[in-house]
């Protein structure tokens, strides 16, 4: 459990807030409800309640933190530099209260025992396999919010070819793309690849293509054994000890790769957790887009599509990675990059948050889907599996059609597809 902040230190941090309210419009729970109890400025007021030694605070305050998605858009917006990571403490108290049943909660999309087990790969894999069988509104909602991406390369290529209308012949293909010399890449940069839970269980093909792309961009890539979930979900569901254990296990798994330069993470949510979780020696933890932007990509062929980039909060606000994904997309010839209105607003995924708050998540998702549709884009790309699932189901709920892909899959297509 995060330590109870020292009241004097906290007081100083809280005093940085000038209550200007510039954070309100960047907060998805405020934007969707208009209720300032569910706003960052409001939550700062409630932080003080939580500090009172008498107990764990007013249920209203806990509920407010429970509903905080943790997207950190407020931190980007704040001119006074309030560290909104402060909310983690409130969110942990809320998660504990939720487990104890000490707080009124929304009717969750799936039972909480299951939510707490979604970081187990067999569970995810089973859910993925059962997806087509999902019956009843709750299961359907769970199933539709699980991320997925085209399983085989040909399917991905077909999808994009179809969007483009006709296949664009452009840059030359690397002749030897599957030859043995590229099995681990030859490059100067040694990468240890972090797969996360969804990678192997639900989106294995995307991970494989990403590794392929990194290798063709001149990196030597290894996938350390013994790695596990990043621990974010354990934190969100009030299991701090499990989270610590996962951090330690990953630390050990990656320590073996003593000669690696970068640890590259595919999902933005995992990246945030890993970047914050501590020591990986001299290796830098990088999001996949950061890594790709620093490498020499193979020649890219034109992709004449209007593509909307949905910035995953954990990348944009959490990790502060703003430039690299956009830069990658701009490198693809003929691609027109657009962004939705209110780009800073979260899509409402937030890992398992959307399962715990299905109604609010659905409303927030609809707003995001409308904004994305409003761009007139033919394709949406993003960097977090959670966002992928959430936006897919929101677009479907609107009865619209707008394909959504992992950003790395689009780059793979331009480079190697």
């Amino acid at each position: 459990m995060t330590e109870r902040p020292d009241p004097a230190a906290l007081d100083l941090l809280l005093r940085r807030c000038v209550e200007c309210g510039l954070c309100l419009p960047t907060c998805a729970t405020w934007a969707s409800t208009g209720n300032e109890v569910l706003s960052p400025r409001g939550r700062l007021v409630l932080m003080q309640d939580l500090l009172e030694p008498t107990g764990d605070g007013d249920p209203g305050a806990l509920e407010s933190f429970d509903r905080c998605i943790g997207c950190r858009a407020c931190e980007t917006a704040c001119p006074s530099g309030v560290p909104f990571s402060l909310f983690e403490f409130g969110k942990e108290l809320a998660a504990a209260a939720r487990r104890k049943g000490a707080m009124p909660v929304d009717d969750p999309a799936v039972p909480s025992w299951l939510v707490g087990r979604l970081d187990r790969k067999p569970v995810l894999r089973a859910l993925g396999a059962l997806r087509p069988l999902a019956v009843g509104p709750r299961l359907r909602r769970l199933a539709s919010s699980l991320p997925s991406a085209p399983g085989d390369d040909a399917e991905l290529a077909r999808l994009l070819d179809r969007l483009i209308g006709s296949r664009q012949e452009g840059a030359p293909r690397p002749a030897d793309r599957d030859s043995a010399t590229h099995a681990h890449g030859t490059g100067d940069v040694a990468i240890a690849f972090f797969t996360g839970c969804t990678g192997p269980s639900l989106m294995g093909a995307t991970s494989r293509r990403l590794v392929d792309l990194l290798r063709h961009s001149g990196a030597a890539v290894r996938i350390p054994r013994g790695q596990d979930c990043c621990g974010a979900l354990a934190g969100h569901t009030g299991r701090p000890q499990d989270r610590e254990k996962l951090h330690a296990r990953n630390g050990r798994a990656f320590a073996v790769q003593s000669k690696c330069d970068w640890i590259v993470v595919e999902a933005a949510g995992c990246g945030l957790e890993l970047k914050g979780s501590g020591d990986f020696g001299p290796a830098a933890v990088l999001d996949a887009t950061e890594a790709l932007a620093r490498l020499d990509l193979p020649a890219l062929r034109p992709v004449p599509l209007k593509v909307a980039y949905h910035a995953a909060c954990h990348l944009e606000h959490g990790q502060g990675v703003v430039g690299p994904p956009r830069e990658l997309l701009r490198r693809i010839p003929a691609l027109e990059l657009v962004e939705p209105a209110d780009p800073e607003l979260c899509c409402g995924s937030g890992g398992v948050w959307s399962l715990e708050h299905p109604d609010l998540a659905a409303d927030i998702g609809l707003r995001k889907a409308e904004a994305l549709l409003g761009t007139g884009a033919q394709l949406v790309v993003t960097t977090n599996p959670g966002c992928l699932g959430q936006i897919t189901s929101a677009v479907a709920a609107l009865g619209a059609e707008l394909p959504i892909l992992p950003l790395s899959d689009l780059v793979w297509y331009a480079a190697l597809g």
């Binding site: 100083l12 005093r15 940085r16 807030c17 000038v18 209550e19 200007c20 309210g21 510039l22 954070c23 309100l24 419009p25 208009g34 209720n35 300032e36 109890v37 706003s39 400025r41 409001g42 007021v45 409630l46 309640d49 007013d58 249920p59 209203g60 305050a61 509920e63 407010s64 704040c78 001119p79 006074s80 530099g81 309030v82 209105a341």
Partner: protein
């Protein structure tokens, strides 16, 4: 009477459980706003979804005698949204409907809860923007902007929120719903829109508004200048005001402010300077480039050490983000601060800045200032740590000294942040006893039981007030601050002639003195009439009506009590906006004694096109083509004029288009191509085109056989409620028309329009005399007008229209 529990139960019935917050968390959060002040704890927070629910909530609260405090997003800086103990907070956040942009009339409907910046984003596709852009624009609501009469950097050119409201939907304290404004920029009668705007939620609850949009400039150039001396920077602003250039914005931040912003966002701005200034121009591409070049010279000559032009849209956006994030970044400087909102005539700005510097030293306090410099409005923030009582005392004393200094320099205690509770102790220094009584009378007429936002805006009864400011005996021009103060009995022609000496005028569209003793002007054009009747004249180059230009008013009530309201400054929200509200109200409420107006440069050049129908008769659509060409033009000066004559169906004779511009070389040349194309498209010939001076253009008209005299001496004038628009451009029943491009909705026709015309509104001028104001349209609360009439003219000594005799 209901118990509070009954009330809450009924409110829940209207709003649903999700729409009524009664918990401790909500109570704590909604007891605060950006002012950092505290007042009391609310009974509950209501989150209505629509105007109908707002009305029901108000009605229920009135029934239980529970006070109501309206709230947008609580970004207000004077504590306006703070509830006293036991009041209901009425949050407008969920009224976020944004209607389609009407690019023809350049208006859009916005619910009170719509965030300001969203309106501009929404208009972007149509090339339109909502001009008032407070630094809080991403977070503050339209309702809050209206209630505070918010300003912003771009209000230098376009004016504050009030001038951008075409229609207001609002509820009174009893929960009755009303609509004020008929969609016009100029409408006679006591202007309720002017009263509601800036009333801080004490008179009515605004649920939505038709907002006027301005064309975003075809080209924009933004200069960033740094100064080793703050005094020089401020002096340069005065220089710029007197140069005839028309920047859309002129902002300054001082060194301390700049450091805080740099720390927050690392824009890479220099931090070893005393002041940084942003100057922006917007309009035709070449005109803007030339203006920016001239401005750069003025700034360098004025002591700027460096002037750079924003290279692209990204750089420009960074400059504005720096300015707009400045206020929020003060949290980095000290745990507490008092922010002021003083405003002085621009010419007095250098003196105020010098005095603030000595006050800072005298009281040994930390201070950072952001300026809406072009408006003379500045926000000095005194920093302190409230854990140190001595420091706290000194900070408040320094703030009081700064405010008093601004008042001594003919300024106001608040330009845009409002009185709220914060400025109650000082606002009384700006009112005299009669004005204060009249303000209370207005409050009483709107909200007799005092349930709307009690204890805000107006000083408590029994406060001591200074003597009224003496009325001026003669004409006084402040050439540095660009204002003119004049007794009401002076002919407008005389005032304009004095201003003309330095190429300035009151840009209200009243025609210029052409010959000695112009009979029309001599008879009709006294300043008093201009104020009382919104004197209608064709207005080449006009920026609005007298209501848009008036800053200060001396008048007498019906029973002869003299009073003074307003201040000779460009922004002022201390008290209700009496000068603007009374402007155009006829002689029904007060007798005008004197007034101060802002003045602006005359357009240096005028393009004239004479268009002649071809052999075949041309229908109304010909005119439509011309109007569209004029309307699409986004030059530096508004106020194009189009003359036409029709035989009721087809255009007859020549049509004349006149458009003011900065110079012969660029913007008018661009327009020339467009107008000629439109003329050709309309099946007409361009018989004549020239670019001439402003005065000469009047004579040209006469040579063309068009008598500008009929502008003022014609028998009858009609103001129309709407531009005919797509239905064809000829107004039924009339044979001559004039279009003011100032605002696409302002039309005056010099004869009576057929009263069955859908656009007919108000005959304002008959046989050289103003007619009494027409009865208010349905939807205007008559008892309210009667109440205000009683406050101003208790014995009915002044003109009382039939409809006001109850």
């Amino acid at each position: 009477m209901d118990t509070l529990d009954d009330l809450l139960e009924k409110l829940r019935g209207v709003l649903g459980t999700d729409g009524l917050l009664t918990g401790r968390a909500a109570g704590r959060i909604y007891a605060r706003d950006a002012s950092h002040m505290r007042l009391g704890a609310p009974l509950a927070v209501a989150l209505p979804q629509n105007a109908d629910e707002v009305a029901q909530v108000l009605c229920l609260c009135a029934g239980a005698a529970v006070p109501v405090v309206c709230r947008g997003t609580g970004t207000g800086l004077s504590g306006g949204a703070l509830p006293p103990d036991g009041a209901l907070v009425l949050s407008m956040a969920r009224l976020d409907e944004l209607g389609p942009v009407d690019s023809h009339s350049r208006t859009v409907f916005a619910g009170a809860g719509v965030l300001n910046a969203r309106v501009t984003t929404h208009g972007h596709g149509a090339g339109l923007a909502f001009a008032p852009d407070p630094s809080s624009q991403h977070a503050s609501t339209i309702g809050g902007n209206i209630a505070e009469n918010a300003g912003g950097p771009h209000c230098l050119r376009h004016g504050v929120t009030r001038g951008h409201l075409r229609r207001l939907w609002w509820c009174d304290a009893a929960g009755e719903s009303w609509v004020s404004g008929r969609g016009l920029a100029c409408e006679r009668g006591l202007d309720l829109v002017s009263l509601l705007c800036g009333s801080e939620g004490t008179l009515g609850v605004v649920t939505g508004a038709d907002l006027a949009l301005v064309p975003s400039g075809a080209a924009v150039q933004t200069l960033f200048a740094v100064f080793p001396d703050l005094g020089d920077a401020v002096q340069a602003v005065v220089g710029m005001a007197g140069s005839g250039l028309l920047p859309v914005a002129m902002e300054i931040v001082d060194r301390t402010m700049l450091l805080a912003v740099e720390e927050a966002f690392a824009f890479g701005f220099p931090t070893d300077v005393e002041a940084a200034m942003i100057v922006e121009f917007s309009g035709g591409a070449e005109e803007v480039a030339a203006d920016a070049a001239t401005a750069e010279k003025i700034l360098l000559a004025g002591g700027a050490s460096e002037v750079v032009l924003a290279a692209d849209e990204d750089e420009r956006r960074d400059l504005w983000r720096c300015r707009k994030k400045a206020f929020g970044a003060v949290g980095r400087l000290a745990p507490n601060y008092v922010t002021m909102d003083v405003v002085v005539p621009v010419g007095n700005l250098p003196r105020l800045v010098r005095d603030i510097q000595s006050i800072k030293e005298q009281y040994a306090v930390g201070l950072a200032t952001a300026f809406h410099a072009g408006d003379g409005n500045l926000h000095p923030g005194v920093h302190f740590d409230d854990r140190d009582p001595e420091q706290t005392r000194r900070a408040h004393a320094a703030a009081d000294a700064i405010i008093q200094r601004a008042l001594d320099l003919d300024g106001s205690v608040t330009g845009e942040h409002g009185v709220g509770i914060e400025k109650l102790p000082v606002v009384s220094r700006m009112l005299d006893g009669v004005t204060a009584q009249l303000q209370e009378g207005i409050k009483g007429a709107f909200d007799p039981r005092g349930l709307l936002n009690p204890g805000k805006k107006l000083p408590a009864r029994g406060t001591d007030y200074p003597e009224p400011k003496p009325a001026p005996s003669g004409l006084r021009v402040d050439w540095e601050s660009l204002t003119v103060t004049t007794p009401a009995n002076r002919p407008l022609a005389e005032v304009q002639a004095a201003l003309m000496e330095r190429a300035l005028w009151i840009p209200v569209g009243a025609w210029l003195p052409r010959k000695e003793g112009n009979p029309g002007l001599a008879r009709a054009g006294r300043i008093g009439e201009m104020v009382e009747q919104l004197l209608p004249c064709p207005g080449l180059g006009a920026w609005g009506t007298a209501r848009d230009m008036i800053l200060e008013l001396w008048a007498e009530t019906g029973d002869g009590r003299p009073f003074h309201a307003g201040a000779p400054v460009l922004k002022n929200v201390a008290g209700y906006s009496l000068p603007q509200a009374l402007c155009g109200s006829g002689e029904v409420f007060v007798r005008t004694v004197a007034a101060t107006f802002q003045v602006r440069p005359i357009p240096p050049a005028v393009g004239v096109w004479v268009c002649r129908p071809g052999a075949i008769p041309v229908g109304p659509s010909a005119l439509g083509h011309l109007l569209d060409a004029v309307r699409s033009y986004r030059g530096a000066f508004p106020g194009a004029v189009v003359w036409y004559e029709t035989d009721g169906e087809n255009l007859r004779g020549d049509c004349v288009v006149m458009v003011p511009g900065r110079d012969t070389a660029w913007d008018l040349a661009v327009l020339n191509g467009r107008i000629r194309a439109a003329i050709a498209e309309a099946g007409c010939d361009c018989a004549h085109h020239e670019v001439t001076g402003f005065r000469e253009s009047v004579e040209r008209l006469e040579e063309l056989g068009l008598q500008p005299d009929w502008a003022v001496s014609s028998a009858t004038w009609t103001t129309l409620t709407a531009l005919p628009g797509d239905r064809g451009h000829v107004i039924p029943g009339t044979s001559r028309g004039i279009l003011y491009q100032l605002n696409p909705q302002v039309w005056w026709v010099p004869e009576a329009a057929a009263s069955d015309s859908p656009w007919y509104a108000d005959v304002v001028w008959e046989n050289g005399r103003a007619t009494p104001p027409a009865p208010p349209a349905a939807g205007v609360p008559l008892p309210l007008l009667e109440g205000i009439k009683r406050a101003f003219d208790p014995h009915g000594n002044l003109m009382t229209p039939q409809w006001l005799r109850s």
